[in-house]
């Protein structure tokens, strides 16, 4: 039984890309920071498809504050990043959508606070 299953596994393409999940970010998820950041970056655990991967930052009134230039980093396609203008203190919400190379979409949101 196990032999058959293992045999089957040998024929699976192991270089496939899977769901991507965030590994860490800058600013960090849920963090309180002193200096306003100039960008938001999220490192994922797999490679992203540039098209359809999005990253937006909203202020506490729900207004988008990002420059709308979200992109997958050219040198490291596991990084999703967006630039932001100098922000006043407040709580900010980051929304992201990440499309893995094989079409698996994951999404999520988190907050950071500028003191």
């Amino acid at each position: 039984m196990t032999g058959v299953l293992l045999g089957l596994l040998l024929f699976l393409p192991w270089d496939a890309f899977a769901h991507v999940f965030p590994d860490h970010s800058d600013p960090r998820v849920g963090s309180e920071i002193k200096d306003a950041p100039s960008s938001v970056r999220i490192w994922f655990d797999g490679q992203l498809e540039p098209i359809f991967s999005t990253l937006q930052v909203f202020d506490s009134s729900g207004k988008e504050v990002t420059h709308q230039d979200a992109r997958v980093n050219e040198k490291d396609t596991a990084i999703l990043e967006v630039s932001i203008p100098h922000l006043p203190p407040g709580k900010y919400q980051v929304n992201w959508k990440a499309l893995a190379r094989d079409g698996h979409l994951t999404e999520g949101k988190f907050y950071f606070t500028i003191k």
Binding site: L12, P13, F17, P22, D102, H104, T106
Partner: protein, 320 residues
């Protein structure tokens, strides 16, 4: 290409159908909203998925305290599940059972188990999901000393709920999720065909799980700097109850176990390790152990497993 895919699926299922299957539940994983639900070891969850359980092993000493000659029960499970549409899936499970008694062993393949499952409702915003299934323990397909000679049909209801919409004041509780399952197993027998090793009464089976996802904590609530592998570990407690509702054992208390343990979520793999803790006199006082090695086929081979048999693209195992 399409044709060869269909043939390879048929081959896969025929190969696995060639072995005996067990009445145990299959182990599903899935995503709803930003919540990833792992496969749990004892309670099936509400997803239909493309995945494979390479091995689920359980080791329970003194499984029936009333029968002191039954010293150890070991089970080896394997199974596959495949989506037919985004919300409809089939599951197949096989098991090899070894029951050790004072003065000898009984072992062999358990009956073939097959299930059809349907996701009825999901809400990504509330990380909530409901499903139903019809499970078949197909009589006479296992080794005669181990598998029942009759078929048992079990209609089931499932739910999964992530606590991600708790208010800010309770944000550290957001990584919690619960899942649950309830079903009634109805044996198709007149009661005279019992082979002595099994129980032919109808039974109410239910269970639930409580888990805390460190992935959810780190990615959506607060990055507290947990290193790997702890940042991909889900502490979990499962509970199962099996209660005869007619037949000779109907007045016994339910067979109930608690399963505290850990799940580790890799990119293509999941590993699980849990204690099997008896909760009443029906299940005794000796703690056992169970383990799981599980593969996410949709992630391992998306070219194959995220499609229907006719080649239509389903996308990954998650709700829309």
């Amino acid at each position: 290409m399409k044709k060869s895919l269909t043939i390879s699926f048929l081959f896969l299922f025929i190969t696995i159908f060639g072995f005996a299957f067990s009445p145990c539940s299959l182990w599903a994983h899935g995503i709803v909203g930003q919540r990833f639900f792992p496969a749990t070891l004892s309670v099936d969850d509400p997803f239909v998925a493309d995945e494979m359980t390479l091995l689920a092993y359980s080791h329970i000493p003194n499984p029936e305290p009333a029968d002191s000659t039954h010293t150890l029960s070991q089970a080896y499970h394997a199974g596959v599940s495949k989506r037919l549409t985004r919300d409809l899936g089939i599951e197949l499970t096989a098991a090899y059972l070894q029951d050790h008694f004072d003065g000898g062993n009984i072992e062999g393949f358990d009956n073939l188990a097959a299930a059809v499952k349907y996701v009825m409702f999901n809400s990504p915003a509330h990380e909530f999901l409901m499903a139903s299934s019809l499970d078949f323990d197909i009589g006479g397909t296992g080794t005669r000393t181990v598998g029942d000679p009759f078929t048992t049909v079990t209609p089931n209801l499932f739910f999964g709920y992530g606590l991600g919409d708790l208010p800010d004041s309770l944000m550290y509780l957001r990584p919690f999720a619960i899942t649950g399952q309830v079903g009634i197993g109805v044996p198709f027998t007149d009661g005279s065909s019992n082979n002595g090793t099994s129980d032919y009464s109808s039974s109410l089976n239910y269970g639930f799980t409580v888990m805390y996802s460190t992935m959810y904590l780190q990615s959506f609530v607060k990055d507290i700097g947990l290193p790997k592998p702890f940042s991909r570990t889900i502490p979990v407690v499962e509970f199962t109850f099996n209660n005869p509702i007619n037949g000779p054992n109907q007045y016994n208390s339910p067979q109930s176990y608690a399963y505290p343990g850990f799940l580790w979520i890799g990119k293509y793999w999941e590993l699980g390790l849990e204690a099997v803790v008896p909760m009443n006199s029906t299940t005794g006082s000796q703690t056992g152990v169970q383990a799981l090695v599980h593969l996410f086929l949709d992630d391992l081979a998306p070219q194959i497993f995220t499609r229907t048999l006719s080649g239509e693209v389903l996308g990954p195992t998650q709700t829309k």
